[in-house]
Symmetry: C2
């Protein structure tokens, strides 16, 4: 099965990387950017079929390693086979 994990900074946590990218875009003339935040997208291929247990293990991976619970939130999404693999 395939899965996607998105890890984002929590609301209220400063995002210096996002601010730097926003400033760089402004410098190139893209003044319409009001806010920009950068997160991580992890795309996983896992042995076994999609199940509640597999999702539970993914959430456990997030809590234990993939996300920092103090500063970050995460979402886990199981990718159905046959859907467009290229969409976020």
């Amino acid at each position: 099965m395939r899965a996607r994990v998105v890890v984002r900074l929590k609301r209220g946590i400063l995002d210096p990387q996002g601010s730097a990218v926003k400033r760089a875009l402004e410098g190139l003339g893209y003044r319409e950017v009001r806010d920009l935040r950068v997160g991580k997208l992890l795309e996983l291929e896992l042995d076994g079929a999609a199940s509640a247990q597999a999702r539970g293990r993914l959430e456990e991976m997030c809590r234990r390693l993939l996300a920092n619970p103090v500063t970050e939130d995460f979402t886990v999404e199981i990718v159905e086979e046959g859907t467009r693999p290229n969409l976020p």
Copy 2:
């Protein structure tokens, strides 16, 4: 309007960060992880309404700054108002 940009390493480009995370997960006992790749998710808030022109400018931002055209692919997605903001 809001938009999401996903920047991923192209197929065939080594992902040392993804390999390191995969090894760390294996070390914690998550041996079901067959492959893991790490990408970037940029979430933007922009002045103005969604339009073909706004999307064009976003794609231009990707080509000029947000993605490395040699090693990375990108996808641009306009986020419809009222959809769940938390999904990748």
